[in-house]
Symmetry: C2
Subunit: 336 residues, 2 copies
């Protein structure tokens, strides 16, 4: 009998929450602004209220007897075993915080709800969501890469989440592919994120627009102000055949392809699920990435190489966080 | 009760064979030139004879009742499940060859020996050898990197060999860290092997000796012929304080450190065991590598970073190949 769970995706701007059914996926979903000012305690109150409301809503639609728990995807370093969140980015002043236990107490005391709670890194949760319900559903082993403000990732091996010995695996954004290059991010030179993070893509485009005549269309889209050019503009211009925008996505895709090639060489993973806001450019990125992936790997490793789009969009995190709670009978149970 | 096994390391130049006791390690070891000319069939005859002789020798010292089998480490792509060897480098004309079954038949028919046989990639076997008997013995998770003519590797996760979905994991030599650089190896640009493979190290040194006065000591060691300079010369000169040789090892170590940083970011592995002929330079490489590893990773990933030398030298392969045969009670059993 399928169970259901609540998935929460804890972002610096918004908190998303969903009721997720093992068979149906998301059956109810909600988002509200994060009250980052309230500090951890105020935040836990917000979180507990949200979870409790979703438990009520879920219980009206689904059998409360098959409720599996509450999964929370959170940014930064997460110790799933201890339920600790450490120095989450975008949530200043949190330090090292026992989120699981704090949420558990608050839920019991203020809402009379006793439920198993799991805390997981948000990129890992998103990867697991794509594994269970999304673009990675048919793959036994794959890497999910999220292209957005940052470049993040999560690894699924044998249909389970691969966390690594310290729980920090999957940081493809910090993979170095240009060790003597100019780009630096978070103090590390030549990382994937320094080369194709959103900010860098915009900077690249700005540089290409130094000559305003290079792309009249892009200039028009950004209202003649190159510093206002956005990935959305670049996507639109490229789809209209604009050469500057096409060249830019070509480069972004090639760089992604080099990063994926390193994953093939090291981990022998050959399937990639790509999500995040930047990935909305789709084949503009995926095609050059796949070509570069072939160029950057040995022919003996070409069999089975595949790059597919993520399917769950912004819901990947809540889906994955919830799915981590499903009963041990679930084929994707990760903590057995 | 500890068991024992025969480990064979199949190289293009030499075949090594050893009797390996689960508790004691290597108790008897042998090496003979590879008869590459004889083709697969002749080669299997040579291999079967060698295995049979070692079984005799082992049986005189150890209890034949606890004999666990024969493990073979072989170059190139190995399908352990099917016992297939595919296009082994340095063994031209082999194609795709069912080494396990061929060896099994020959052993039974010509020597009356029926034994379980396991085939494994040689770099994986060496990593497993270091895990069971060598430098990685105290690590639950680590990567073994072999620096020699090529740069290879093997990954141990949770004390088991990580082969990857297709059995080709661990190819750190093909990791790209300089995607727009000049160095190319096997058609791929900017790989670790293209940057610090033995040939490249010698080329780098030659380049530095363009000015013969830059290092009188190195010129002396290579008999005034820069094209004859060897890693051994470079090691000796560096240990005597020669600035050219020191600069060269500094660079080799830094490049290795960048590669290791990528493994930390991606797999969250923080322990590294370094072996192979080039690694004889020891701290000349390890110290700059560890410094670079810190520079190239986030502070949140620095805890537990460690680089240690391999301990088994040329015996890692035979030890690991044999250890893969040990009974399922063994904590390092890889195929459970």
């Amino acid at each position: 009998m399928p169970s259901w769970a609540i998935g929460i995706d804890l972002g610096g701007t918004n908190i998303k929450a969903a009721v997720v059914d093992e068979a149906e996926g998301v059956v109810d979903q909600d988002s509200q602004p994060t009250d980052a000012e309230a500090g951890p305690e105020g935040f836990v109150r917000q979180l507990a209220l949200l979870a409790s409301e979703h438990f009520q809503r879920g219980s009206e639609m689904l059998d409360p007897g098959t409720f599996a728990g509450i999964g929370v995807g959170a940014p930064g370093a997460v110790d799933s075993t201890k339920g600790l969140l450490s120095y989450p980015p975008n949530l200043p002043g949190w330090g090292r915080y026992p989120l699981r236990d704090a949420l558990q107490s608050r839920l019991e005391q203020a809402h009379g709800l006793a439920a198993p709670i799991l805390i997981e890194n948000d990129a890992n949760a998103a990867a697991y969501g794509e594994a269970v319900f999304g673009g990675g559903n048919s793959f036994r082993d794959f890497m999910m890469v999220t292209l957005g403000t940052g470049v993040g990732g999560g690894i699924i091996l044998d249909r389970k989440l691969y966390r690594g010995p310290n729980g920090t695996a999957g940081e493809i954004g910090f993979m170095i592919i240009d060790f003597e290059g100019e780009s630096v991010h978070a103090g590390v030179r030549g990382t994937i994120e320094s080369l194709i993070g959103k900010q860098r893509i915009v900077e690249l485009a700005c540089g290409m627009l130094d000559d305003p005549k290079a792309s009249p269309r892009l200039m028009e889209l950004c209202s003649l102000n190159p510093s206002k050019v956005s990935p959305r503009h670049l996507e639109q211009a490229a789809k209209e055949g604009d050469p500057v925008a096409l060249r830019l996505w070509q480069r972004v895709g090639s760089i992604l392809g080099v990063g994926l090639a390193n994953i093939v060489a090291l981990m022998d993973i050959r399937k990639f699920v790509i999500g995040g806001g930047i990935a909305a450019a789709g084949d503009l990125i995926f095609e050059p990435a796949l070509m570069q992936l072939h160029r950057s790997t040995l022919p003996s490793m070409h069999e089975g190489l595949e790059i597919v789009p993520a399917k769950l969009g912004n819901s990947a995190g809540v889906c994955g966080a919830a799915a981590l709670c499903f009963a041990s009978g679930h084929p994707l149970r990760s903590d057995d």
